[in-house]
């Protein structure tokens, strides 16, 4: 991506700051320290946006925001709550759980609408928010917003170069879709959140640990194995986001529903010199080759933009529209992604600042 002019970059960054500032005023009310913390965080997001537009490098600044947000999320919902409330740490929401209990989730949305009472629309707003994100940045949620993805990406970036080379997974890249179907069926059958109880390596709440000690031990073994293997060790060794690519049912759901988003990372066949660098660096294993040797991105692309930054032929960008009449929309996509990431992280990051400053 080419460097942007100072004026254009500053203009877009001010646009981001303006929208986030309005949200900060609306949500902070008369709480001045909170308002200041929110405005500070909005400035950080807008500054990162400025650097992206100005330097023409997307993934580096995106990763800073993404990983920092994930780290702060865990600090707020795991660490601070753990030390202040003893053994009941729990996060207020988890978007991964939505995928694994989809039928219950849809049912709760229908009930909320039917009730006609806006006060019970708390759950519903999550549904609308999710749809809004899907229709705008689509799979971008997995590389710009998701707090769990940020942890996976953080570990995948620890080693400068991959210690183990990860071979193209072929059909096994579809494993999370199979896992999503399996989880939906078993959840429906057993009436229990099977993913949260057994497979989630983040366990943001105590609620899913079984009371019976033997079952609890089995859960703990699986929990630590998935956390150590798929979130920490293999990502460090391979540089790939293993949990996101092979397990996360939410990622699978987004890879299907995200087609509704108008933005897609696309490789220009004419410009591509077939060097294979995009495939090598893609942390989501979302670049494949066709039978004729052409490189193309798949539905699993999370719009992290690493390939855009590395491509020596400038053959990759974010486009919208049908193949004959595509337009380059990466500036708009980045703008929207920063807004979504800034707005969602703005609901908890300022609290962390205040706690660290001893004001909460």
């Amino acid at each position: 991506m080419k460097n942007g002019s100072f004026r254009k970059s500053a203009g877009l960054a001010f646009g981001i700051l303006g929208v986030l500032a309005v949200l900060s005023f609306v949500s902070a009310g008369r709480d001045v320290p909170l308002l200041l913390a929110k405005l500070s965080w909005s400035t950080v997001v807008a500054f990162l946006g400025f650097r992206i537009y100005r330097d023409g490098v997307i993934s580096r600044y995106r990763a800073i925001l993404f990983i920092l947000t994930a780290f702060l999320f865990f600090l707020e919902f795991k660490f601070f709550r753990f030390i202040s409330f003893g053994n009941t740490p729990s996060a207020p929401y988890c978007h991964i759980a939505e995928a694994s209990t989809l039928s219950n989730f849809v049912h709760s949305q229908v009930l909320a609408i039917k009730s006609g009472d806006w006060r019970v629309w708390g759950v519903l707003t999550m549904g609308f928010l999710w749809l809004l994100i899907i229709f705008t940045i689509g799979q971008g949620i997995c590389s710009w917003v998701c707090f769990f993805g940020g942890i996976d990406e953080g570990f995948s970036k620890i080693a400068k170069r991959p210690i183990l080379k990860f071979k193209a997974p072929g059909r096994w890249r579809d494993l999370p879709i199979a896992f999503l179907i399996f989880i939906l069926v078993v959840t429906f059958l057993q009436g229990l959140p099977v993913f949260c109880s057994w497979f989630c390596p983040f366990k943001m709440t105590e609620a899913f640990w079984a009371a019976d000690p033997v079952t609890r031990k089995a859960q703990a073994v699986l929990f630590w194995s998935i956390l150590a293997g798929a979130v920490i060790i293999i990502p460090i060794l391979t540089g790939k986001r293993i949990f996101c690519s092979f397990i996360c049912p939410f990622g699978a759901l987004v890879s299907i529903s995200g087609k509704a988003s108008p933005y897609a990372v696309t490789i220009d066949k004419e410009k591509c010199s077939r060097c294979g660098k995009c495939m090598e660096v893609c942390p989501s294993l979302a670049v494949e080759t066709t039978a004729s040797g052409e490189y193309k991105t798949t539905n699993f692309c999370t719009r992290c933009s690493k390939c855009i930054d590395i491509c020596p032929s400038d053959a990759i960008s974010i486009f919208s529209g049908p193949s004959g009449a595509r337009i380059d929309t990466r500036d708009i996509f980045i703008f929207l992604s920063l807004l979504v990431a800034g707005a969602l992280s703005g609901s908890f990051v300022p609290n962390v600042f205040l706690r660290l400053a001893g004001l909460r």
């Binding site: 059909r171 896992f179 399996f182 059958l189």
Partner: protein
């Protein structure tokens, strides 16, 4: 007898969605992987599956009728877990054989063709049919109050018919699941279900 028939059918209709869910975990991945876009072929597969379930239901009704209440728990807990393990092993064998087949076509093809037995939906129906779910156990409790073995069999035949109504939409699964990629995903779902229910079955036996 008509009353027993109607009663069994009504119970099947009201509880069938749950039964369909139980069978879905095993049979849907199978249909995703093996189903074709030809109604007669899919009907054959589903009929074979239902035949397995039918025999399982009738056998269950007869056994319960003959052994009576005293051994009911032994049968429903022990046997149901063994059947769950059986269905899981069948699914595992089927999915692993097919996943290996896709990788090393030459070397393993003879093994896979020998393991065609694992593809027979009849056995899936048999094992999942003998895996008593809550509505199934409700039906079992009802036949114990009848003290009539043949009445119990008739009741379970009608119960089977009621629950089978919910299996009809499965005919369309292969239409939704088109293409080689979806078949592979179906195979993976079969594998995951196989592992999960194998563990559930073993844990149930050990408890």
């Amino acid at each position: 007898m008509t009353r027993i028939l109607l009663e069994g059918f009504a119970l099947g209709l009201s509880a069938g969605i749950y039964c369909a869910g139980s069978c879905l975990a095993f049979f849907m991945p199978y249909l995703m992987a093996e189903g074709e876009r030809k109604i007669p072929s899919n009907v054959r597969k589903i009929t074979s599956f239902l035949a397995g379930r039918f025999i399982a239901y009738i056998a269950f009704a007869l056994i319960i009728g003959l052994i009576g209440n005293a051994y009911r728990d032994v049968f429903t807990s022990g046997a149901s877990h063994i059947c769950l393990i059986g269905a899981s092993l069948l699914m595992l064998g089927y999915s692993v054989a097919n996943l290996i087949k896709g990788r090393h076509d030459g070397a393993c093809s003879s093994y896979v063709s020998r393991s065609r037995l694992a593809r027979v939906p009849f056995f899936l129906g048999l094992f999942t049919g003998l895996n008593p779910c809550p509505p199934f156990l409700l039906g079992a409790s009802r036949i114990l109050t009848m003290a009539d073995v043949s009445g119990g069999a008739v009741f379970f035949a009608a119960f089977f018919a009621g629950t089978s109504v919910y299996m009809a939409p499965l005919i369309f699964v292969p239409y939704l699941a088109r293409g080689e990629r979806i078949k592979q995903i179906g195979m993976m779902v079969a594998f995951l279900s196989g592992v999960w229910f194998l563990v559930v079955g073993i844990a149930g036996l050990l408890r």
